[in-house]
């Protein structure tokens, strides 16, 4: 391969890990592309040269992709921007003469994986209640149409929950277990559909290295089928938390709690409008006064006492019944899952320890609290 590999969304969780793995493997053909300079900070230790490219400004993206043979789209952000961003990236890739566009979609486009052996090119569920899933589905449909035009090779990867060090899917269970607010829906027998972040990066690398045209849709997931009960039990054991503290919530239907309502409110346009218009000073003053108004300011909690806050997305994820079929990817690109569940868990626990995580202190969780 002669050209470079552009990583869009290089400052995100997966993008940063892909850069780190590539750097430590001695690769020199990676071009990180970020929307703004702040995204450089996360990987500033690597000392790589970044290019600025904003999908909302196609000409800037086109400049960023100059000389690149492959584009890996790992961008994240507001669901409302997903389709527009995908179109913009595709057009910039075509204009720049890119050979291969790898687009990270999500298994959420399927909803809850309602049947076993779901074909990889099954159409996305466009009436999904979750805006993220709907918009990812619309982006997939756009790329499906563009595949037919054959102007470049397009590979859409559909990972499930991407876990590992620094993942929200590690932080969330650890925080919940430590605070006693972890919960399982029903008997916890729902399927997690996990993919360890390193396995995902290796899958992307395998697509890049593939010698032939391979346009299409491919599910990617870890080899093991892990239930939510097993996932929480593994973290509970690793963190020294009594698994009996994990709550059970009914599986018959989702019931919104106060926390869920607050989350829904945050997604409403007026909240989003205000969020981006208030000055930082006003935002901090409002936050502080709200906290002072509602804070009970009790002593430091010893953990294992909080109530679960069941969110709609978590409830739906936990009611997934079938594992994501991945045989199509393996047939095309080979087996890339070198990290097992056990090794991924060990790495995730090592990372939690590095962050200072201590299950005995409910308020001591990564990202919680702030040292002023």
């Amino acid at each position: 391969m002669s050209g470079a590999i552009a990583i869009l969304g290089a400052g995100g969780f997966v993008g940063a890990r892909m850069l780190e793995m590539s750097f430590l493997a001695g690769r020199t053909d990676i071009v990180p592309v970020v929307r703004s300079f702040r995204s450089v900070a996360r990987v500033a230790n690597l000392g790589m040269s970044h290019r600025l490219g904003d999908a909302s400004q196609p000409e800037s993206l086109e400049r960023a992709l100059a000389g690149c043979e492959v584009v890996v789209n790992l961008t994240t952000g507001d669901p409302a921007d997903i389709l527009r961003t995908t179109r913009s990236i595709y057009r910039a890739a075509v204009a720049s003469g890119v050979r291969l566009l790898i687009h990270a979609s999500s298994a959420t486009v399927y909803g809850q994986v309602a049947q076993p052996d779901l074909p990889d090119d099954s159409p996305p569920q466009l009436d999904h209640w979750m805006p993220y899933a709907r918009e990812k589905g619309l982006a997939e449909n756009f790329l499906r149409d563009m595949m037919a035009e054959r102007r470049l090779d397009i590979v859409v990867l559909r990972p499930g929950l991407i876990w590992g060090p620094r993942s929200p899917w590690v932080i969330r269970p650890a925080v919940q277990l430590a605070s006693g607010s972890a919960y399982l829906v029903g008997d916890g027998g729902g399927i997690c559909n996990l993919i360890y972040v390193d396995n995902l990066v290796r899958s992307i690398e395998a697509v890049i290295a593939h010698p032939r045209q391979v346009s299409g849709f491919y599910n990617v997931a870890d080899d093991e089928t892990t239930t939510w009960r097993e996932y929480y039990a593994a973290f509970a054991a690793g963190l020294g938390v009594d698994p009996a503290t994990v709550h059970t919530v009914p599986a018959d239907r989702f019931r919104t709690g106060l926390g869920g309502l607050a989350e829904e409110l945050k997604k409403l346009p007026p909240y989003q409008w205000l969020k981006y218009r208030l000055s930082p000073e006003t935002k901090s003053a409002i936050k502080l006064r709200l906290k002072l108004a509602f804070d009970r300011d009790g002593p430091a909690q010893s953990g294992n006492s909080a109530s679960p806050e069941v969110t709609r997305d978590m409830w739906h994820l936990q009611t997934t019944r079938h594992p994501l079929p991945t045989s199509r990817f393996k047939a095309a690109f080979g087996h890339q899952n070198r990290s097992s569940f056990a090794s991924g868990l060990a790495a995730s626990l090592a990372w939690l320890r590095f962050t200072g995580f201590d299950q005995g202190r409910a308020q001591d969780s990564p990202g919680q609290g702030s040292a002023p």
Partner: protein, 361 residues
């Protein structure tokens, strides 16, 4: 009395923190912003809208040729702080320099010497010194409430979210380093305010040959206290400051700037609210207030710097204080070793070790 003020460096720090504070000060008649300096005319033009009396200049030399402000706020990239401060002192202006004071010990020493020779105030913008909780923590420690053999852990980390307008903070040549220079300057100064002179005993980070550190861990000792500081730009940490002594322990309140949590050995936790206040204007017996937010701390810090000019009062952080922190950071970098990232596969850890920036020397 209205003091004239110049700002050198009109990037994100100025825009987010100094601009609102200076608007307040100008509306209250305490200052008049007379000059804005930045090589990017778009930035000065954007800020000029808020300060009608201010002229826009590309360099400090151009500005000092037409005006001599009472106080110059320096918020330019750290590698330019010394040059800009020295220009200000030569022109006869006092200086409030944003942290980090300088990108090298040599620069910081030149700044202190120049301020002394010009008999001008050199204040360093370490906003956390204005936190009322610092006063409360210091009083508790000084009273012996924690006993002796003090040990502490200070962790501060999260994915970097500061809306920077350039990448100078991520290059060793312009910033001098990474998260240690950025967050570590604040943290080490906060600890120095509590415990006294710091000595770096151990230091490890994750910077590679061409990069700057995004994670670091410092073993640091003070007269009567020792502990660990851990900082991150790339990932969330279990943030907080916890001091443990033979007779009790103390933590900062997770989100209140005016409170600490304290408990005697074996006793229940209690929240202590600080009654510390700072002058809110330039009158001798003027109004005092307690800052509740970071932005309010910036306001009080500027007021205190102005009072140093008008009344000869001490500034919260002097050039000598700032120099001490620059020395400590320099000492950290001199003893840098690779930070062990135990979650990485062994082959990657070996690569990380061999490509650590300290190996290039």
């Amino acid at each position: 009395m209205t003091l004239e003020l110049m700002a050198v460096g009109c990037g994100t720090v100025f825009d987010q923190y100094y601009l609102p504070a200076l608007q307040k000060l100008e509306s209250r008649g305490m200052v008049r912003v007379v000059a804005l300096v930045d090589p990017n005319p778009g930035r000065t033009a954007g800020i000029q809208k808020h300060f009608p009396s201010a002229g826009a200049f590309a360099t400090p030399a151009e500005a000092f040729a037409v005006t001599t402000p009472d106080l110059t706020i320096i918020a330019s990239p750290p590698n330019l702080h010394a040059e800009h401060a020295l220009s200000a002192f030569r022109a006869g202006s006092h200086v409030l320099c944003e942290k980090p004071m300088a990108a090298s010990v040599g620069d910081a020493e030149r700044m202190v010497a120049a301020a002394s020779a010009a008999k001008r105030v050199l204040a360093v913008g370490m906003t956390r010194r204005m936190y009322p909780c610092l006063t409360e923590a210091r009083a508790l420690i000084a009273s012996g409430a924690l006993g002796d053999d003090l040990s502490f852990v200070y962790r501060e980390g999260g994915v970097y979210g500061w809306p920077v307008s350039t990448d100078f903070a991520f290059r060793r040549a312009t910033a001098g380093g990474g998260v240690l220079i950025d967050k570590g300057t604040h943290v080490l100064d906060f600890l120095a305010a509590l415990f006294g002179r710091p000595t770096a005993a151990a230091y490890a980070d994750d910077g590679y040959t061409e990069g700057v550190e995004t994670n670091c861990r410092i073993g640091v000792e003070f007269p009567g206290a020792r502990g660990t500081v851990q900082l991150s730009w790339s990932q969330p940490l279990v943030n907080g400051f916890h001091v443990h002594g033979s007779a009790g322990e103390l933590t900062l309140h997770p989100w209140r700037l005016d409170a600490v949590r304290f408990r005697k050995k074996g006793g229940p936790w209690e929240t202590r609210i600080s009654a510390a206040t700072w002058p809110g204007d330039l009158r001798q017996e003027g109004k005092r207030g307690t800052p509740w937010t970071y932005e309010e701390c910036v306001y009080y810090q500027i007021v205190q710097s102005l009072r140093a000019v008008t009344h000869g009062e001490p500034v919260p952080v002097t050039g000598e204080d700032g120099l001490l922190i620059v020395h400590t950071i320099d000492s950290c970098y001199r003893r840098a070793t690779p930070l062990r990232l135990e979650w990485l596969p062994e082959a990657e850890q070996a690569q990380a070790d061999s490509r650590h920036w300290s190996r290039r020397q």
